[in-house]
Symmetry: C2
Subunit: 410 residues, 2 copies
Amino acid sequence: MSTFQENLEKYAELAVKVGVNIQPGQTLVVRTPLNAAEYVRAVARKAYEAGAKNVHVEWSDEELTKTKYELAPDEAFHEFPEWVAKGYEEMAENGAAFLSITGSNPDLLKDADPERVSNANKASGKAMEGFRSYIMSDKISWSIVAVPSAGWAKKVFPEDSEENAVEKLWEAIFSATRINQADPVSAWQEHLSLLDDKMNALNEKHYHALHYTSEGTDLVIELPETHLWVSGGSVNKDGVQFVANMPTEEVFTSAKKTGVNGTVSSTKPLNYGGTLINNFSLTFKDGKVIDFKAEEGYETLKRLLDTDEGARFIGEVALVPHKSPISDTNILFYNTLFDENASNHLAIGSAYAFCIEGGKDMNKEELEQNGLNTSLTHVDFMIGSADMNIDGVYEDGKREPIFRDGNWAF
Amino acid sequence: MSTFQENLEKYAELAVKVGVNIQPGQTLVVRTPLNAAEYVRAVARKAYEAGAKNVHVEWSDEELTKTKYELAPDEAFHEFPEWVAKGYEEMAENGAAFLSITGSNPDLLKDADPERVSNANKASGKAMEGFRSYIMSDKISWSIVAVPSAGWAKKVFPEDSEENAVEKLWEAIFSATRINQADPVSAWQEHLSLLDDKMNALNEKHYHALHYTSEGTDLVIELPETHLWVSGGSVNKDGVQFVANMPTEEVFTSAKKTGVNGTVSSTKPLNYGGTLINNFSLTFKDGKVIDFKAEEGYETLKRLLDTDEGARFIGEVALVPHKSPISDTNILFYNTLFDENASNHLAIGSAYAFCIEGGKDMNKEELEQNGLNTSLTHVDFMIGSADMNIDGVYEDGKREPIFRDGNWAF
Ligand SMILES: [Zn+2]
Ligand SMILES: [Zn+2]
Ligand SMILES: [Zn+2]
Ligand SMILES: [Zn+2]
């Protein structure tokens, strides 16, 4: 077996055992582009070996997506098959685990009509609302991992041949996910326990607000009264541990929906549904985006913010040190799974229900009453930098450093 | 554009314009293995250009199927996702057209437990019963075309390298489907009108029975009182023409369920769900298989005949001359789509409702009352040979030749 084959096997095993942590008799649902077929086959073998009853794969194809945006009539983008959405809900209800494989070309829909993209996102967001509630409340085990497409690899390494670019991107992924360590599974257990230490420390502090300052950013984010900091390691409703993002370097909670004020600037490009939004800033008043700018992708950002009422509020506040295995690669990945884990970030849109006490059992109205934002969308964007300072502010105004010069201050 | 690319485009156009004959605003559903991705992309472009609203692709992967048979627990083969079956029915109800791409490795499940294969076929047959009724009554437009997999190509051309075998199989497919003619679409129209001539002649004869004789075969098949001969060109409930099999060389009708007597021998191997059944014979009394033999695949044949009560009766009687563009290739395809169109054949299982007058509007009970067989399964098998004679027998016992020495006698 070649080194690459060995790494691919380890990476499949990591997704199955640590990512979704498949349990005997469980169904594994894999959502993947065609180009990840070789990896998906390895994942299926590992899943059956771990006792999975069935591996159900939902394939997609970048070329077909592009063709549809080029040639289909407008009405096609207002529809999403109801039966597919119902199918996802049925599988979630029956306790399946969900593995998503990311890695599409960040420029795939660069030339597509942004209105079509936005309509398609709205239609799928609405149809998949029921399924997404299983994810957003961690009722089920779910995980996201990445597999390079040629288009993505060439975006990250434009100077290289396609073959070399893909190879380099695989190496970067194996390094960021600790696959090239002797025992990736135990390396991950150690890593997750370090993240848990930060999470526990922040939960003990119980800050009233965070104050972010750096070039282009001066932002105060209040936290919900009953907020909980959460780390990369999650637990589903049956008590099974899983890791939703691989890699993950973040400790995160929810913003108080109406408690965000000031301006924040992006520090990395954001790949949203096949289009890049770059060098943008958002200005908030009482939680709501009241002004925004973007040097690239303004129209796409505007449509994202107009998805629904909740798309103008913040749903996630995530702390990630500037120094991390991913930052150390010094690669701009143009893929949120990686870029968000190399940078402090926020998310526009829906908050995770488990970020407040008892939130997993609350309905939408109760979540909103407790200060959480709800929306059809949830999009992370990167705001971290080497000069970023963050203060934790207590109820009485007392403050102390959380981040200094981009890294943990404690 | 290379010759191969040109042929692939023509083949895609043929499937879209003649096969399913897509109509403006219609959805095209494509069921395909991963290895046909390039062809599917061409089909999607042609479909959108012809006005399709959406192209929905359901992918499958031979490797994953094989892995499942090797590693999944027994109970996995008793299940078929209900929501998928419902989805197919919903798309059919909304008037979608269905294109299936065949071409899997005939030996794919050679080593799989036949009980697992039979359970899986039963589970999917049962779940998809509602959808299949749209197909069996031609309510919707549907078509089957073939794309070579490496495994299939190597089975047909075992002496060649994988690359050469695939290339040769493509050539054979392009030749059998008239793609290498200057204007395949009009070549098909001409061909279909010749088949219609045979159909019309047989419908005027209104035979009471057919009597087959050749080495290993002496079989009498009565036809239903109101039987209709049908050719490769079909018409859906909205009056849109389509061609269900490409290639097609057959003119066919239904047997009278209880009117089949004698013995028939297979003349080509039958690829059933990834296993080959070879050199087999069936003996009938009053329509029912009362004895059977098989040199290869006996267990698989037995399980096929045990699918349900209707799996022991004949549902289709198809006439195909021994001399045809497919026979002329002198290739044994190990794929029913091709082999059945180079040979007289019968089908075990369900009859097509449109093979009797008014059948499209009848329910299962009414079809049975009118002499048609119903079953969860429908499997064609080849019985034609160079020495086959077929007589048409009238109500009064008078008889006349339909086939002599394997070819049309009129
Ligand atoms: Zn995050
Ligand atoms: Zn997020
Ligand atoms: Zn037939
Ligand atoms: Zn048939």
